[in-house]
Symmetry: C2
């Protein structure tokens, strides 16, 4: 094949970025700030919840924001997100995955801030501990099913009032929910939102809450048991006022990406 036109002219830029530097030279030290913002997602009572912190200073003073922080020069993005999780929520060892990077020049009115958004998935127990913390709000989140192709999420306070979200955090939350909806079919993320042992019914409720629509019970059970990612423990529920369901756990033998 003759697809190769290899380098032969002397006017090739010496660096990947040199032609940019021509126009950028004077401000070469004006690098943008880079932050991570983390959406801590949990599912209970048939709703989606996320942790928000209230801003006390401009910009967006009084608005609610996802917990976040600057990326240190010696830490990876994931380490920065982990640090935010630990500092702002006292959590470690939770499922954490990169979502998207938001970099509109005007998203922070002060200065250029590019943020790498992450989402973390919490089970009931972790979410419960969060609710007992001070200074944070675990807020209910809703995304229109219509909002499939885009659009922000709405966050609600304890009294059902709509919360004003800082920056583009409404958009970030909207994208988190849509991403989770999309991954649910082919990725074992539902389990991250449940304790280590759970019933099929609990798993179905998590899926339904995430998707925002009811699922067929028979089909759901068949799909899950046939997929091989579940493992029956032999143990059953206790004290439930009806026939106890079997508890399942994630099958660690199967590699699940």
């Amino acid at each position: 094949m003759t697809d190769t036109k290899l380098e032969k002219s002397p006017d090739i830029p010496p660096e990947n970025d040199s032609e940019f530097l021509e126009t950028y030279d004077a401000s070469v030290f004006d690098h943008p700030s880079v932050t991570v913002d983390v959406a801590l997602i949990s599912v209970t009572k048939g709703s989606l919840w996320t942790l928000l912190v209230r801003r006390r200073e401009p910009p967006f003073s009084g608005y609610w924001a996802l917990p976040g922080g600057f990326v240190g020069l010696d830490e990876s993005l994931e380490e920065a997100a982990s640090r935010v999780l630990s500092t702002k929520a006292g959590l470690s060892g939770v499922f954490l995955e990169q979502l998207y990077t938001f970099g509109q020049p005007d998203r922070d009115p002060r200065t250029r801030v590019i943020t790498v958004a992450y989402y973390a998935l919490l089970d009931r127990e972790q979410a419960r501990r969060l609710r007992s913390q001070h200074e944070v709000l675990v807020s209910r989140v809703a995304v229109d099913w219509e909002g499939e192709t885009g659009g922000p999420a709405t966050a609600f306070g304890g009294d059902g009032d709509v919360l004003e979200l800082a920056f583009d955090h409404g958009e970030i939350l909207g994208m988190v929910v849509r991403r989770l909806r999309g991954k649910l079919d082919y990725s074992p993320i539902g389990f991250e939102l449940l304790p280590p042992r759970f019933t099929l019914h609990e798993l179905q409720t998590v899926h339904e809450t995430l998707l925002g629509r009811p699922l067929n019970k028979d089909s759901f059970r068949r799909r899950m048991t046939a997929s091989g990612v579940l493992e029956a423990t032999g143990v059953k529920q206790a004290d439930v006022g009806h026939r106890p369901a079997e508890l399942y756990r994630l099958n660690k033998e199967i590699p699940h990406g």
Copy 2:
């Protein structure tokens, strides 16, 4: 519900990022550099291709790299990627989407560089124009089907030799291909790799090349015609040495996310 523990203590940090600043204060002006790298993907001759540029200076001098550049303080990430596309490849108006952000502290040995990776999809005609340019190499790319869960791509030169890729660009290319494979089922990205009018066979070849495995002809035709995203033009191929196939185009009436 009593999920709200609103702010009431005076020790709440005044800013989202203040506790980070405690440890960061001295180097508050040492922001990381932020770049965009763009993988220009095309499909022809049953293979995947991407544009690579050869580095002429350290680090990774002599290695091959994705085209990229610094993000300007006043441009969005997408605008930066568009600019790279136009400056390095002379292309505009092509499909462009953000992939992932790579930020390992040691990915660039000189200094901290966080890169936001994008991928662009080119049709035959755009790829052909690329191949006629100087100073760039349109390289064949392969990703093990096994590499479903991760791992880098391999790039090949014109003589079939393996190219050494700079930085983590092999990982980036691997993730691009896996992302495309995943999106193919539920997103009309296959059309971006074809000219405005194409036959069902050409579309199937694009899908097969991307996926790295053969597809069932009958099922593929049914799926595509039933999906409603295709529109028959009534026009047929000419000069093909066999029965000419009907040409289809993307149905612009249907909203497709």
